[in-house]
């Protein structure tokens, strides 16, 4: 696996070929054999942080979605190679010819962990609840209010001042359950990517009687009231220590081989790593500082699994301020960074260089489009001089979050820009909350930002660079880009859609909306006795966490 991944990194092949290669390279499932199973089928992993909530409507972090994906099941589920979705709680679905009405057929044997059947009404309730401004669900906007008919007004409804209008707003949403096994969603506009939204953590059903009985903000805080419909259920919650999952005996898909999953909440990387070495964890992230040690260790190097991750980082230029209001200056900065050296020296070989926007593992992956941002220090300096004059007169405020990893990257980038362009870079290292505050106020010039896919569709990536987006702080705006993305988002024909996105990506890279840097990988150790681990480029905290149901533990 490692070899093929390394080879692929250097190939410049058409997107399709690469995606096929990735499936082979990264998403291999080792075949489970039932004869050699260990007596104790307990999987022990680390999700880093205690989930703030396990209510599907309230989850917003990967350490929540990790357990969430096992205990709550949405209508659809991603395929391991991310090429498409398959039915989950819904066995099938159809889309009307105008692309506006999506009808989901719920499995007759889909059950909650208390044995009651899952109905269309459970989905209507759950989705209406997410769109109730009084719940303040973190991702009601943009996933639901940007797609579901009648939900566009969500942003204009103040939970206190407009309280009287909320019941009518909820009633007017395009959500209905004509019978117990059907759930119908009406959309504002055709959205080919809606299948991914129907597979998100927040699209899982929620039981009205449970919420009414225990309280909207209480029901998900105790295993007894946490009634969910996934393959596993929570049996124990030890605050800031661990969560225990056990099989949901009523699950439609049958029982998994694992009888227990313990998800530890260990924040300290080194503590978790020691736990792995001490035989207390079965999968663990390798701390950055221990990368070479693991690579050179005869035992550990064989337990290493490297999986590309749909997460990409870039230099975020504040386009409202000089010199970055000039696209040529931005492009010059983008060309002045030696990404190979960055990956080797800062990322310890754990990242892959990416002078482009869409990461490996997505349909829109087009490394060839990154040519204009390729490293060329001489050309960069000439370009900068002709665009804004003498580089030695330019001083850049570079905002950096105060953590070891961020400071190392900041140090490297500042050095590259100073050496290759001759500009002065002033590194401003401050605490994380202050950095976010300054970003929101646009009080900065340079910052390293990034994006991780919510779902593997180009729309989730391209929308963030549209004019007025709240997720890229630099204020990039290009009407041509906006027009292309708007068109692509609703284009039903996959090939035409891809073509539009490719054009948009070319504009974004040539404009240097961002100076694209690198793609991250999962770099985790897996005990050799784990069988059936099924990884995707969209895993949350632990590789394979979408598919614990396929894992078993061999005798060891």
């Amino acid at each position: 696996m490692d070899d093929s991944a390394a080879r692929l990194r250097w190939l410049r092949v058409p997107a399709l070929l690469t995606v096929v290669g990735l499936v082979v390279a990264a998403c291999g499932t080792s075949a489970p054999t039932t004869s050699n199973l260990a007596k104790d089928q307990t999987l022990r992993v680390n999700i880093n942080t205690e989930p703030n909530s396990l209510d599907p409507g309230q989850e917003q972090y990967s350490y929540e979605a990790d357990a969430g994906a096992s205990i709550s099941e949405a209508l659809l589920k991603i395929k391991p190679d991310l090429s498409d979705v398959v039915g989950a709680t819904a066995s099938s679905w159809n889309i009307s010819s105008d692309g506006l009405t999506w009808t989901f057929h719920i499995r007759s044997n889909a059950k909650w962990n208390d044995g009651k059947p899952v109905t269309g009404a459970d989905f209507v309730y759950a989705w209406q609840r997410v769109l109730d401004p009084r719940l303040a669900a973190p991702y009601a906007d943009p996933f639901f209010d940007g797609t579901i008919a009648g939900a566009a007004d969500y942003g204009n409804l103040d939970p206190t001042k407009d309280a009287a209008k909320i019941p009518d707003f909820i009633k007017g949403l395009g959500l209905s359950a004509p019978d117990a096994s059907t759930f119908v969603v009406k959309l504002q506009a055709p959205a080919p990517y809606f299948k991914w939204i129907a597979s998100l953590w927040m699209s899982a059903p929620v039981r009205k009687d449970v919420v009414d009985k225990f309280g909207s903000d209480k029901w998900a805080t105790s295993p007894d009231s946490l009634i969910t419909n996934g393959q596993f259920k929570v049996s124990e919650m030890v605050s800031k220590d661990h969560l225990t999952l056990v099989p949901n005996t009523f699950y439609w898909g049958g029982a998994p081989t694992l009888t227990k999953v313990i998800e530890y909440e260990i924040a300290d990387d080194n503590q978790a790593y020691a736990k792995y070495l001490n035989g207390e964890l079965d999968i663990d992230n390798v701390p950055l500082a221990n990368t070479d040690l693991v690579k050179n260790d005869p035992v550990l190097s064989k337990q290493l699994k490297i999986v590309p991750q749909l997460t990409l980082f870039w230099m975020d230029f504040n386009t409202r301020k000089a010199p970055f209001n000039n696209p040529k200056a931005r492009l010059a900065f983008s060309k002045a960074v030696d990404r190979d050296s960055m990956v080797k020296n800062v990322g310890r070989g754990r990242w892959s260089p990416a002078p482009f926007f869409i990461p490996k593992g997505m349909n829109g992956y087009r490394p060839d489009l990154g040519a204009s941002q390729a490293f060329d220090p001489a050309a960069a300096k000439t370009m900068l001089t002709s665009a804004v004059g003498d580089p030695s007169k330019i001083t850049i405020d570079f905002l950096i979050r105060n953590s070891t990893a961020n400071k190392q990257l900041g140090e490297f980038l500042a050095d590259q820009l100073q050496t290759n362009l001759g500009v002065k870079v002033n590194q401003v290292v401050i605490d994380s909350k202050t950095v976010t505050t300054r970003l929101r106020k646009h009080d900065y010039q340079l910052y390293v930002g990034g994006w991780g896919a919510d779902y593997p569709d180009d729309q989730d990536w391209f929308d963030i660079w549209m004019t007025g987006s709240g997720n890229v702080f630099g204020g990039y705006s290009n009407p041509d880009y906006d027009a292309l993305v708007k068109k692509a988002d609703v284009e039903p024909d996959a090939k035409k859609r891809q073509d539009l996105y490719d054009q948009a990506q070319k504009i974004l890279i040539d404009d240097a909306g961002g100076g694209f840097l690198y793609q991250r990988t999962y770099y985790q150790l897996v005990k050799p006795y784990l069988q059936g681990l099924t990884t995707t480029a969209e895993d949350f905290e632990v590789i394979g966490d979408w598919f614990w149901g396929k894992v078993s533990i061999a005798q060891h």
């Binding site: 917003q60 906007d141 939970p159 209480k218 800031k240 924040a267 736990k275 070495l277 990034g450």
Partner: protein, 338 residues
Amino acid sequence: MAVAQGAPPRGALLSIKIPRGRGAGLGLYVVRRILWLVPVLFFVITITFVLMHLAPGSPWDKEGKQLSAAVVRNLNAKYGLSDPVLVQYGRYLVNVVHFDFGLSYQYEDQPVSSLILRSWPPTATIGLLAFLMIVIFGIGIGVIAALRQNTWVDYLVVGFSTIGASTPAFVVGIILIIIFSVTLYRVTGGNFSLPTGGFAFDQHLIMPVVTLSVLPIAFIARLTRASTLEVLRQDYVRTAWAKGLRERLVVTKHVLKNSLIPVVSALGPTFAVLITGSVIVESVFAIPGIGRAFVVAVSSRDYPMILATTILFSVIVALANLVVDLLYTVIDPRVRLG
């Protein structure tokens, strides 16, 4: 030592006059000291509230994907953050009087009081055990070193306390994990090793308690040694020896009683620090304690959690000081509270 010559400075600050009579007077003194907590807490709350709201960033700011403006507005409405700060402050004071410490922003609406009740017991357990170790070993080896001054025992204790006092807890913790977990696991083929972290009432306690107590033991041992040496040179000790008293009696009755006064004043704050948790030890050993909960609350701007933890810490520090002041009267009859 100034404290031995009259009322301890902490008692003097409060300038509460109480009768000389011991029994009833002491009770009244304790009640007054506890009543003094009310204005102290009021100032603590006010200062914390102001500092908290001055710190940049809101509870809803994140590193990566940002919440949309509409969602942030909804969250502010839900948690009462859209009201003016003064209104929030007033509401908080009223609630605190009713022992309502509010709901956590970070942990989806869970009452802060129950979050604290959950994370304090592990911290308190480890802190109490460490405190016991400190009292026993710190005072013990300090006295032994003083009595055997300039022998190999003394050099060993001085050597240990110099190293112990200059080694940070995270280094001790990591070294212990490497030796007793990782290496032992490799050597014994996975049959025996101490757990690297987590909390339970078993061998999980060993390494955190040791890590937490090494530095204070070293500190208390040095302090005890120094003050015991000083007392040993006093005339009344020489008299006791001259009277032909047995060593045990001289040490317990005459030396220890006097040499422990500075040690007790150091143990009070040490106790308060231990019982409120060590962020470092809790992180290194992944203990679900209150020290780490407080740091996380501060960095995520979980206002109700920050306030409630600060209140708890203030109460503990104030009570620890009170206990120390009361202990003076037991150790040194010359001390009068008031």
